[in-house]
C-alpha cells in the first residue's frame, strides 16, 4: 500500500480540560502525508504545533480531549486501547524530542535505552538488540559507537545526545518520524549537522516526516510542504518554496518579515504588532484579526474557512495576499 498516505488527519481538535480551564488548543486541523514526504508545522510558541504532533501518537496529558480522526498507516489512533497504542509507538510513529538531555533517561545507558525498545517491539534477545543498537549509532554517525553504547546521556555532548535520540527513534524502522524542534536546544553549528542528518536519513529510509519548528530557516532546509499554525489552526499550507516565496496569509507574511535572511541585511526587522493570542479569549472572527494590517469588518463575522489560493495551496483568509497581488 505505498500509495496510501502514512498519516491522515481530518478535523483534529484538542481541548485541554480540567477543573479550572477549558482551552481549545488545536482546532480543525486536517492534512495527510505520504511516505517520503516532509511536512513542516511552523508557528510561534503556543500555536498548537507540538500538541498537534503529539496527538498523532496520543502522547498528551490525561486532561487532553482529542476530537476528529487520526489514521496512522490506515489505523484509527483515536479509538485505540493502550496496548494497541504501545504497538504503534515506535514501529509506526516515532518521535524525536527537543531537549535530548531531559528526553533521555539519565540513569540508563544509551545502549540500554535503544535496546529495550527493540526488545519490547520485536521480542529479540538483548544481545541481538545491542547489535542493532550499535548499527543504529553508526547510522547516525556517532564516533566510537561501541563505547557510546555504554555511555550515559550526561556523558555525551548535546549533538551526540540528539544523534542518540534519533537512533532511538529509528530503532524500530518507523514509517512516520515526528521531530519536535529537534535542533532548538543545540548550538548553531550542530543544528545544521543534525538537520542534514535527519533529512538524509528520512530520504534514505523513505519515512514520512513531520517537523515542528518556529524557525523558518529550518523549514526551508527540510520541508516539502509547510503548514503555518496560529492559535491552534492551520492558517496557510502549501509547498515550502511557494509559501515562503509568496505568502498567502498576512500572518505568514508577518512571520517572514520578522525573520533574518540574506536580503534583510541593513534593514530593520519588522515585528507583528500586538502579542500572541490568548487561547482562553479568542476573537469571534479570524483569530489573527486584531493584529492584521489587512483587517476589515467582514473578518470579525466568523472564523474564515481554508480556501484554495493556488496549486496545492490553502489559506484561512478572506482576502489572501496572493489575490490582492494578482488583482493589482
Amino acid at each position: 500500500m505505498p500509495h496510501d498516505p502514512v498519516v491522515e488527519v481530518s478535523d483534529l481538535s484538542v481541548r485541554f480540560v480540567n477543573r479550572d480551564l477549558d482551552l481549545q488548543v488545536v482546532d480543525g486541523v486536517s492534512f495527510s502525508l505520504a511516505a517520503g514526504e516532509v511536512l513542516c508545522l511552523l508557528g510561534e510558541s503556543g500555536s498548537g504545533k507540538s500538541v498537534t504532533m503529539r496527538a498523532l501518537l496520543r502522547l498528551l496529558p490525561d486532561y487532553a480531549r482529542i476530537g476528529g480522526k487520526i489514521r496512522l498507516a490506515g489505523k484509527d489512533v483515536t479509538t485505540m486501547t493502550d496496548r494497541q497504542l504501545e504497538a504503534v509507538r515506535g514501529p509506526v510513529g516515532a518521535m524525536i524530542f527537543q531537549e535530548p538531555m531531559t528526553a533521555l533517561d539519565p540513569v540508563f545507558t544509551i545502549g540500554t535505552q535503544i535496546s529495550e525498545t527493540i526488545v519490547s517491539h520485536e521480542g529479540v534477545s538483548y544481545r541481538e538488540a545491542r547489535k542493532r543498537s550499535l548499527e543504529l549509532l553508526e547510522m547516525v554517525q556517532i564516533p566510537s559507537a561501541e563505547r557510546r553504547l555504554d555511555s550515559y546521556p550526561h556523558e555525551l555532548s548535546g549533538g551526540l545526545r540528539q544523534r542518540a535520540m534519533i537512533a532511538l527513534a529509528l530503532s524500530c524502522r518507523p514509517s512516520l518520524l515526528l521531530a519536535d524542534e529537534p535542533t532548538t536546544a543545540l548550538d548553531a553549528t550542530v543544528q545544521i549537522q543534525i538537520l542534514l542528518l535527519i533529512r538524509s536519513l528520512q530520504r534514505e529510509l523513505g519515512m514520512a516526516t513531520i517537523f515542528v519548528t518556529h524557525d523558518i530557516g529550518v523549514a526551508c532546509e527540510v520541508a516539502d510542504r509547510v503548514s503555518v499554525m496560529y492559535a491552534g489552526r492551520f492558517v496557510e499550507t502549501g509547498p515550502v518554496a511557494d509559501v515562503i516565496g509568496r505568502p498567502g496569509h498576512p500572518y505568514t507574511a508577518g512571520l517572514l518579515r520578522s525573520t533574518v535572511h540574506a536580503e534583510s541585511r541593513g534593514q530593520l526587522l519588522e515585528s507583528i504588532p500586538g502579542g500572541p493570542p490568548d487561547l482562553a479569549d479568542l476573537p469571534v472572527g479570524c483569530s489573527f484579526g486584531p493584529r492584521c494590517s489587512q483587517h476589515h469588518a467582514a473578518c470579525d463575522a466568523g472564523v474564515p474557512a481554508m480556501v484554495p489560493i493556488g496549486e496545492g495551496r490553502m489559506a484561512r483568509c478572506l482576502r489572501p495576499l496572493l489575490a490582492t497581488a494578482e488583482a493589482a
Partner: protein
C-alpha cells in the same frame, strides 16, 4: 571506588571523636555527678575524694577525656560506675536487642512506606493520593511514646491480646522466636515503625510524582514501552534520594529509641542510655554513644555506595 570507601571509613574516626567530645561536654554541663549518685548522701568528703581519684574524676576535664580516649583506642571502654561490669558487656547485649527491634520495625516500615508511597505516586486518582498522604502526615506527627501507650491500652489492656512490656516471658536472655517471644515484639515494633513509614511514604510519593513529570517519561511512552518497564525506569530514577532517607531512618532506629524502649521496658540501647544518663554513668554513656555513632556513620556510608551504584551521575572517587 575502593579508595573512596577507604577514605570514607577514615572520615568516621574524626566524626566519632567529635560526637564523643560533644557528649562528654554536655554531661559535665548538666548538674549532678556520678559519685553522688552511687554514694549515700552522708558519705564523708574523704571517701568521695577517694572514689573520685579511683575513677580519675579529680583530674581536669580535658585530661579525663584524653585518658578515656586513649583507653578506647586500646579497646578498653572502661567499667560502668553503676553495675561495676565492663561497658562492653553492658552495651553489646543491648545493641543486639535493639537491633532485633529495629530490624523488625524497619522491615515493616520499608515495606509499608514504599508500597503506600508508590501507590500514591502512581495513582491518578485524587482520593488514593490524598488519603495516603493524610495517613503519612499523621504517622509522622503522632508522638510515638503516646502511640505506644495507646496501643498498650487497646491491645494489652482491653483485648489482652498482646503483652504490654518486656522482651519475653523467659526474661530477656533466651529468644526462641516462638509466638510467646514474638508477641512481645509486635507493639514496640509497630510503634517504632510509624514514623519511618510516614516519612518514607511521603518521600516516595513526592519523588515518584516528580520523576513522572519529567520529559523522559514521554520518551519512554513514545517508544511504546509497556507499563512495567516504564515503572522500572521511574523507580530507578527515584531510588537514590529514597535510599538516603531509608539509611537515615534505619540508623536512627538502630540507635534505639529512649522513649519507646522505656514505654515498653525493652532492654535495648535506648533503655541503657536512659539509665546511664539518669545515673551520670559516664563510661557507659560514652561507650553507648560511640557504638551508636559508628552505626550511623556506617549506614550512611553504605547508602552512599548504593547510590553510586544506581545513579551514574554520582561518581565518587
Amino acid at each position: 571506588m575502593h579508595l573512596y570507601i577507604l577514605r570514607r571509613l577514615l572520615y568516621t574516626v574524626p566524626i566519632i571523636i567529635g560526637v564523643t567530645i560533644v557528649c562528654f561536654s554536655f554531661i559535665h554541663l548538666a548538674p549532678g555527678d556520678p559519685i553522688s549518685a552511687v554514694l549515700p548522701e552522708n558519705a564523708s568528703t574523704e571517701l568521695m575524694e577517694e572514689i573520685k581519684a579511683a575513677y580519675g574524676l579529680d583530674k581536669p576535664l580535658p585530661i579525663q577525656y584524653l585518658k578515656w580516649l586513649m583507653h578506647v583506642a586500646g579497646g578498653d571502654f572502661g567499667t560502668s560506675i553503676m553495675t561495676r561490669r565492663s561497658v562492653v558487656s553492658e552495651v553489646l547485649p543491648a545493641v543486639g536487642k535493639t537491633a532485633l527491634l529495629a530490624i523488625t520495625a524497619i522491615t515493616i516500615s520499608f515495606a509499608l512506606g514504599i508500597t503506600l508511597g508508590l501507590l500514591a505516586g502512581f495513582s491518578d486518582r485524587r482520593v488514593t493520593d490524598r488519603s495516603i498522604t493524610a495517613f503519612a502526615v499523621v504517622g509522622i506527627s503522632v508522638p510515638h511514646y503516646w502511640l505506644g501507650m495507646v496501643l498498650v491500652v487497646i491491645f494489652a489492656v482491653q483485648f489482652q491480646a498482646l503483652p504490654a512490656t518486656g522482651m519475653g516471658p523467659a526474661g530477656t536472655h533466651v529468644w526462641d522466636f516462638g509466638w510467646k517471644d514474638l508477641s512481645h515484639l509486635v507493639l514496640p515494633a509497630l510503634t517504632l515503625a510509624m514514623i519511618p513509614t510516614g516519612v518514607l511514604a511521603r518521600s516516595v510519593r513526592a519523588m515518584v510524582a516528580e520523576v513522572r513529570r519529567q520529559e523522559f517519561v514521554q520518551t519512554l511512552k513514545g517508544k511504546g514501552l509497556r507499563r512495567p518497564r516504564i515503572f522500572l525506569h521511574i523507580v530507578k530514577n527515584a531510588a537514590p534520594p529514597i535510599l538516603a532517607i531509608m539509611g537515615l531512618q534505619f540508623a536512627q532506629l538502630l540507635g534505639g529509641s529512649i522513649l519507646v524502649e522505656t514505654v515498653f521496658a525493652w532492654p535495648g540501647t535506648g533503655f541503657l542510655l536512659n539509665a546511664a544518663i539518669a545515673t551520670r554513668d559516664l563510661p557507659l554513656l560514652q561507650g553507648t554513644v560511640i557504638v551508636l555513632a559508628t552505626f550511623f556513620v556506617l549506614t550512611n556510608l553504605a547508602v552512599d555506595i548504593l547510590q553510586t551504584a544506581i545513579d551514574p551521575r554520582v561518581r565518587r572517587t
